[in-house]
């Protein structure tokens, strides 16, 4: 075996070759192989076999990935569930805080029409179904009836929010559940009349949230296409989450704003692998090819721009290289499998070293650089 390797890369002398040939007389496999390799003396067998071994490695890692796919999908679903859970949790924790603070504040009478406008705007944005719109109209009507000095304003924010939640929930809930959420809305309505009942809307909304979240859970627990639905829901939730921030014009809410923004962005980040997994599944072809970051086209332009021709005349051809990759895709352990000339090899190695990072699932790569 060692002799054959030596023979292939040309570092064998004739005595060793003789030994190899003698061995081949007893070993049919070796004899056959030598016949084949002898037949093409011009070809670079060392390079070819190295590339082959890499192809094999890639092939295996591709297969493994396919095998691991269900596991990945489950992991993605778990992350999704977790992120939703965290989000709801954070929402629950935030809400009482601004309400409590707001209650201590004396509210200027002009604030309430402003917020009413906001509510109307929000209505347009979310496009509430007609029945809900009617109810929310009623809310605004009720509010108009109240004297402006009346301390209902603190509870308006939670109402607006819970309205939103209701809208979200109603979208997700099957028709049989909508009645329940209407009931909740009525509760919210009744609470607008008395500031003491401020806790009720929060409770009600949290109940709605529970219903909604359980709905989301059941959806995400299902497989494949249902995953997409789960993501759609999360997107809606994310879309809804900045809304409280928009509504609030007072400094108290602004302090909570960055936090909720963080949460939604965190969710967006956590959803990334899921989204990626989804697109991969859609294409049904896992990207396992070896390529430089930025793509082959960019790499070629990089080579063109940075190639320094060594000062040697009459040398032309291609350097073949194999290399391995760091965890972050940095090229290392470069090996020239087909040399052109020491100076050109050196230049090729330099180009590869200073070039972009590479992406390869098998952590190995190969490339050719033509001079």
């Amino acid at each position: 075996m060692e002799l054959l390797k030596k023979w292939l890369d040309g570092s064998i002398n004739w005595k060793e070759e003789k030994r190899l040939r003698t061995e081949a007389r007893k070993d049919n496999f070796l004899a056959d192989a030598l016949d084949g390799l002898d037949a093409l003396p011009d070809a670079d067998h060392t390079h070819n076999t190295k590339v082959l071994e890499q192809r094999l490695q890639e092939h295996i890692s591709k297969k493994k990935k396919r095998k691991n796919f269900p596991v990945r999908a489950i992991a993605a679903a778990a992350i999704l569930l977790l992120s939703i859970g965290i989000w709801w949790n954070m929402q629950n924790n935030f809400k009482p805080a601004p309400i409590a603070e707001r209650q201590t504040k004396s509210v200027s009478p002009t604030a309430s029409p402003l917020i009413e406008n906001k509510i109307k705007e929000d209505k347009e944005e979310v496009s509430i179904p007609n029945t809900v719109a009617a109810i929310t109209d009623k809310i605004t009507d009720d509010k108009k009836a109240l004297p402006k000095e009346f301390k209902t304003t603190p509870s308006e924010k939670p109402i607006a929010e819970s309205n939103k939640e209701l809208v979200v929930a109603q979208k997700e809930l099957p028709k049989s559940n909508t009645i329940q959420s209407y009931d909740l809305q009525e509760e919210v309505l009744s609470s607008t009349n008395s500031p003491e009942k401020v806790e009720i809307p929060t409770e009600a909304s949290s109940m709605v949230m529970e219903v909604a979240s359980s709905e989301v859970y059941s959806i995400t627990e299902q497989e494949d296409q249902e995953d997409a639905a789960g993501i759609a829901i999360v997107e809606e939730v994310i879309a809804a989450s900045p809304a409280p921030v928009v509504m609030s014009e007072e400094p108290i809410d602004l302090t909570s704003a960055p936090i909720s923004m963080d949460v939604s962005s965190a969710i967006a980040e956590q959803d990334m692998p899921v989204a990626r997994a989804m697109t991969r599944r859609a294409n049904n072809t896992p990207t396992t090819k070896v390529f430089p970051v930025g793509g082959m086209e960019d790499f070629r332009t990089y080579l063109k721009a940075n190639k320094r021709y060594p000062d040697i005349a009459n040398v032309e051809g291609t350097v073949f290289l194999v290399f391995s990759l760091d965890q972050d895709g940095t090229v290392k352990d470069i090996e020239v499998t087909k040399s052109l000339h020491p100076a050109f090899d050196k230049e090729a190695i330099r180009l590869l070293k200073e070039g972009p990072k590479w992406i390869s699932p098998a952590r190995v790569g190969y490339c050719e650089i033509a001079f």
Partner: protein, 187 residues
């Protein structure tokens, strides 16, 4: 940890690798085993299929076959078993090709030119004379390569660097020179 595992795999014998693959179903063991014979497999494929592209494809598909076959068969001598599998796979491909194109390949396949080193036998005075005669009839390039290889005990690679020529060229120069010598000596 990974390194230890890797080291471990390299030290295992063929038989141990097969056993582990069968037991754990881990393809890396099989790949490790397969890689040991890359040069041989590739060579055999080249012999039968005659071009590197087909040989490379055959190399990959034989591995695919092994994934199943190794599990099904009780293998005592992996190397010779593998030889048979590779050979059969190549013959199968040729048979398929033959359906489309009729090429007589058998003649060529059987014709295994026995490899003879011209400098093997203890030289008699006569053969020595003949040899130097024949050497002079060689092309300059072949002569140079043969001299460097056989008389100065250089490797192909060393000759390639000193003459600043690609390895393949030197290899074919020596191969052709040797053949010419043989023909000359026998004729």
């Amino acid at each position: 940890m990974l390194r230890i595992l890797k080291q471990d795999k390299e030290d295992l014998t063929d038989q141990e690798l097969i056993l582990r693959y069968k037991k754990e179903g881990e393809m890396l063991y099989l790949a490790q085993l397969y890689k040991r014979y890359t040069n041989l497999i590739y060579g055999v494929c080249l012999k039968y299929l005659k071009n590197s592209q087909d040989a490379e494809d055959a190399y990959m598909s034989v591995f695919e076959k092994l994934i199943k076959k190794v599990r099904q068969h009780d293998i005592t001598n992996f190397k010779s078993w593998l030889h048979v599998v590779v050979k059969n796979h190549c013959l199968e491909i040729i048979r398929k090709q033959k359906k489309n194109l009729t090429i007589s390949y058998d003649q060529e396949l059987v014709q295994n030119e026995p490899f003879v080193h011209p400098f093997e036998e203890s030289p008699t005075e006569e053969s020595e004379k003949k040899l130097s005669n024949c050497l002079q009839q060689l092309e300059l390039q072949q002569l140079e390569a043969i001299q460097l290889f056989y008389y100065q005990n250089k490797s192909y690679k060393e000759i390639a660097t000193t003459k600043n020529q690609p390895l393949g060229k030197i290899r074919s120069a020596i191969q052709n020179g040797r053949r010419n010598l043989k023909i000359c000596m026998e004729g």
